[in-house]
């Protein structure tokens, strides 16, 4: 019943969003707000709310007040679809979200079909989000291949190594990341000595490490998430392997340090720039922390995504989704994460990934460019 009612509402509203906006301008903030990834969704929602507040303090956009609606997808793609439908029904001008690629992708289709409603994700890195050629999808974070590329460039240019082994956890994220790493590595003239998968959830990697030990790798790249990354790092050290462990943003979690223990020292990870080192971000960080406590990995990205959306609305001079998308595609936006330009797909044109290292039991950013 609700579904039918929703579809009818959608049909009535199709194409009529701009005329329907009324006095306030609604923007959606979507992500896993409850559940085990609840912190991520809350961070996103808080970032968007803070941006709306800052704009409202300056008189809103197009002279109208901005209001934020939250959508909780509980990192479930099915919930993400109903969140997107809810946003369409409420008549949002744009949506900031989601966190997980598996949620952002189905949601983007609903928003596109409902009149090309703009969606900007602050966190989803899977290429499929923008590769489907939808005019209304944008992201302010990087793509998986930029991340794999950044790690490979570091290995090629900053480390004098020849023997590189590559493992992944066979997930969309992990294998995708490992594949992109290998692609860039081969382009730079290094052929991995080993490439293979492990099972996510497994705890014992001694067998595969013993086999790797025969090939004496100097670098072990792992595409995957922190529990397996931590165990691999630790078990490799226990087997007496002397290598540099490299992984992606799925590993940059305090749990990784706890699981791997002292073996984590010197491990390299790709992640976005340290936001405390971005001059433009400082004012936002101060206000964010005063209001919501310590900022999360994607809080400031969510703030910037909302900021960009509102700037585009201002420039378009209307809430017509097609005009907003056109502005996003052609313009340059000054935000708290620096100046942002979108390419034809809707990705930011510059790779945001840099190398971090584990130093004294902490993650430390190595340099500004990889």
């Amino acid at each position: 019943m609700i579904r039918i009612a929703g579809m009818m509402l959608m049909m009535i509203m199709f194409g009529s969003v701009p005329a329907w906006g009324g006095e306030t301008i609604l923007i959606g903030a979507a992500g896993p707000i409850t559940g085990d990834q609840g912190k991520m969704g809350t961070d996103i929602a808080n970032g968007v709310k803070l941006a709306a507040e800052d704009w409202n303090a300056r008189g809103g956009v197009l002279g109208r007040k901005i209001e934020v609606v939250e959508g909780d997808d509980q990192h479930d793609p099915k919930q993400a679809v109903s969140v997107a439908n809810k946003f369409v029904n409420l008549g949002v001008v744009g949506s900031i979200g989601h966190f997980n690629s598996s949620c952002s992708i189905p949601a983007s289709q609903i928003l596109f079909d409902a009149g090309e409603i703009t969606q900007i994700t602050p966190a989803s890195t899977n290429p499929q989000f923008t590769d489907r050629g939808l005019s209304s999808t944008f992201r302010v974070c990087g793509r998986d291949e930029q991340q794999g590329g950044a790690a490979a460039q570091h290995v090629l240019k900053k480390m004098s190594v020849r023997r590189v082994a590559v493992l992944h956890d066979k997930t969309t994220y992990g294998q995708g990341l490992a594949d992109e790493f290998v692609k860039s590595l081969k382009a730079g003239g290094i052929e991995p000595v080993y490439y293979g998968g492990i099972v996510q959830g497994d705890k014992d990697f001694n067998a595969v490490l013993t086999m790797l030990k025969q090939k004496d790798p100097q670098v072990l790249f792992f595409g995957g998430i922190y529990p397996e990354a931590g165990l691999l790092t630790r078990q490799a050290r226990e087997q007496g392997m002397n290598l540099t462990f490299i992984s992606g943003d799925g590993t940059i979690d305090p749990e990784y340090l706890k699981i791997a223990g002292p073996a984590a020292e010197g491990a390299l990870l790709t992640f976005t720039r340290d936001q405390r080192k971005i001059p433009e971000a400082q004012a936002v960080i101060t206000r964010y922390e005063a209001k919501y406590g310590p900022f999360g990995a994607y809080s400031i990205y969510a703030y910037s995504a909302a900021d960009i959306l509102l700037q585009a609305i201002q420039r378009a001079g209307s809430t017509d989704s097609k005009k907003i998308n056109a502005e996003l595609h052609k313009g340059e936006f000054k935000t708290s994460i620096g100046t942002v330009r979108f390419d034809a797909r809707g990705d930011i044109s510059e790779s945001p990934f840099v190398i971090w290292r584990v130093d004294g039991g902490k993650f430390v950013q190595l340099e500004e460019t990889p």
Binding site: D36, A207, G240, I259
Partner: protein
Amino acid sequence: MFFQQLVNGLTIGGVYALIALGYTMVYGIIELINFAHGEIYMIGAYAGIIAIAAAQTLIAGGIPPIAAVALALLAAMLVCAAYGFTMEKLAYRPLRHAPRLSPLISALGVSIFLQNFIMIAQGTRDKVFPHLFENTVAFDLGSVRVSLIQIAIIVGCFMMMALLHLVIQHTKIGTAMRATAQDKTAAALCGIHVDHVISVTFMIGSLLAGAAGVMIAMYYGLVNYSIGYLAGIKAFTAAVLGGIGNIPGAMIGGMILGLLESFGAGYISPEYKDVIAFSILILVLLIKPSGLLGENLAEKA
């Protein structure tokens, strides 16, 4: 590489064997596949972590690593024995004379209950077992490197299995267990308190699983609420491979499964290690359906 994989395989195999013993003992005595047994192993790992954390907070200056391990093992074994006893009393005893399917479903229910209970009580994030020892390398010959924990696990598993063998073959309660396994009615006629023997069987199986849980938590340094599932399936497989209901069979089955996984991953493909191990299991069962050391159980089934 061969020797290293042998050590890797024996370590994991020893743990499978300890858990498999619980499956096989319970099956031998009441013909029930206790699917909640993997959860007991998981609870053992948590009990160990909690005991160490409690001791380190309560005792000023902390406790020496060896004492911490002993404490964790003791706590896990006690807690697990209590869980095993309660589980049998609440979920299986009332169904003793029900159709065979009922206790099996009850076991699945207990498994889901315990997993979710721990998930809610302890959270979904992984728990980290404290790094107790600074230098864990026992000996290092370049290509072969064996850690103290690996040696401790292998030795510990063999000691516990030997102890269990002594208990079953040479004590009064062991004799009673064997008698109950053979024929419950006849055993009762001889004055054996069958319910009591079944409770003890559950407790012994559970305390072995609890010890296995602590060993694994210490070895990998990582525990979460879902580890019981995979370990339970593997150990059950080991029990079937060795011949379910047969105690030496469970020990041998566990070791063989551990070695198969380790050599399969090392020499053929790490991605296919479970496929290799389970293909061999199917082959063995096709040739010898009752398992390696299993007797024909036709008259019991």
